[in-house]
Symmetry: C2
Subunit: 221 residues, 2 copies
Amino acid sequence: VPISKTPLKSADSPESPEKRDERKLRTRAHLIQGALTLIGQGRGFTSLSLREITREAGVVPAAFYRHFRDLDELGLALVEEGGMTLRRLLREVRRDRIAPKAMLETSVELYLRYVKSQRLVFAFIAGERGGGAPVIRNAIRLEELHFASEMAYDLSAMRTLPDLSIGTLKMLCGLMVATMLNAASEILDLPENQPRREAELIQNFVRQLRLIFLGATLWRE
Amino acid sequence: VPISKTPLKSADSPESPEKRDERKLRTRAHLIQGALTLIGQGRGFTSLSLREITREAGVVPAAFYRHFRDLDELGLALVEEGGMTLRRLLREVRRDRIAPKAMLETSVELYLRYVKSQRLVFAFIAGERGGGAPVIRNAIRLEELHFASEMAYDLSAMRTLPDLSIGTLKMLCGLMVATMLNAASEILDLPENQPRREAELIQNFVRQLRLIFLGATLWRE
């Protein structure tokens, strides 16, 4: 066991490989969470320094490099986290087997609850998909494409819009995903206790999705 | 003439007030351009320091405070610049008096040419509308709302969708503006000399706008 790899830890109590792996994963999660916390405070990812992130995570700066080569690699881990969060949402929608008639309202409700419970991850995705580091932005776009593509195959399997090709369904879902992330960013920015403003934003969001869906029913290949 | 306000300038050649105002405006424009240049290099606005911006603008750091109280105030000036750029686009579309049938393709062409000629301003808007500093983000959203609202009144005047209320037209235009800015960010990120990839992105963008428009023709209040 090469204990020498962790020079900043006192080596007097020998640790089992399992425990070390566990601790390593925990530190990695703390670094990810630390970066997300700073982003949740309104900071862009490109403005974060390694030192701030390790301080927020409660580890020494040198520990960073045992988990990530550089800040970009941490950024890509955040994007992965975001992608997993989005895919979990699709699984929840599938599991709930919503009646087609209430599809839109119920999905929006589920989505907004989800955005609020995962607000830091959504703040990161919504924040970096347009700006900041190109490498992060491109990775987020790829995750969005995967998500839209999965959604398109779900719609295809449900035969919700049976006349549309899978290519058109992907274009449609891409538009819906962009609209969803746009709404997430607006809703997360609302000050607390603004129920009327929130209701307006949600109503606007539902109307935009309905408009997109209406267009899809008229679409001819 | 209170020359003492500009302590870093040698006061041996007296300057006329007009010349001084002109120079002041020029420095301000250099600071704005300097920040945009750095953002165009893939930097988030919140990651910029005052020193970098003044270096890029070719002025001493202290000169910054003769134009902006702090970095946020410079950010808001950039937002204003973005808002003016968007409104200029609407004026161009109006002046061209495009035939309704070719409306979509021609507007998209005009828009994309415009995005490319003003790429730094669009990189800033697309980059900061989702992330970074909340004060900047909210200002961008307000500019988007103004733009969407102007577009809605234009559509209303042209009687393109005569059955829709102004409220619905605003919701529709809000969705179109978000889709436009999304497309701008994707197109600006394309590497040079990727005509096929660019054509695909543009086709996807046109199809999304067409879908939105189709939905609008079916919409019942």
